[in-house]
Amino acid sequence: MAVRVQETGFDPGAELNAFTAAASGAGAVVSFTGVVRDLDTGGLDRMEIEHYPGMTESAIAKIEAEAVRRWRLADSLVIHRYGALAAGETIMMVATAAPHRADAFQAAEFLMDYLKSRAPFWKKEVTADGAAWVAARDADEDALSRW
């Protein structure tokens, strides 16, 4: 189990390989990578991600501990950036390793659903015309009800 909350970028491929190498005995590794998307209308200058230092790390650690309790996992990893990111940059990554694929997939989806709505991050989209906070989606809140 590891949590990293950082402003600097990271290399998802290198992280995936290091995670897989360390999770010895796990046959199944699932990763999720979140990438900054441009607006549907184009013109995103940057995405600014604000977070709550201290609570962010502890909230994610709690989410990971819950995943470990629910599924048979060999290991898990969450990396989440804050600060200013351009379109195409990697925002965050989740990885799970398990003896069987169903555990790895479900734990990764669970971690993502909780990160979306329960980890203290807030996204703001900045364009030449101004800035707007990204609104929470009802679908993200609803996604929690399945767990």
Partner: protein
């Protein structure tokens, strides 16, 4: 004395990220009432509590949560991580 933190548009509306507040409020809701009464910018930030979330000592809480022994309360909109 309690540390009160604001994030995202709550921070922007109130105009500061954190402040120390002298309060006798027993619950989060009572603290909100005190803040609302201060100035328009607070009243604007706390106009619709259904659009706000709260954490007490870095744990998500309800507005009726007790502030007994609490050192830090944070107000923010629904989170948008991931």
């Amino acid at each position: 004395m309690i540390d009160v933190l604001y994030f995202a548009w709550v921070r922007e509306r109130i105009g500061l990220p954190r402040e120390r507040v002298e309060t006798g409020a027993a619950t989060v809701a009572e603290l909100v009432e005190e803040l609302r009464a201060r100035e328009d910018r607070y009243a604007a930030a706390f106009a619709d509590l259904s659009a706000l979330r709260v954490a007490v000592d870095q744990e998500l809480a309800d507005f009726d949560a007790s502030l007994d022994g609490a050192r830090e309360v944070a107000f923010f909109p629904p989170m948008t991580g991931g």
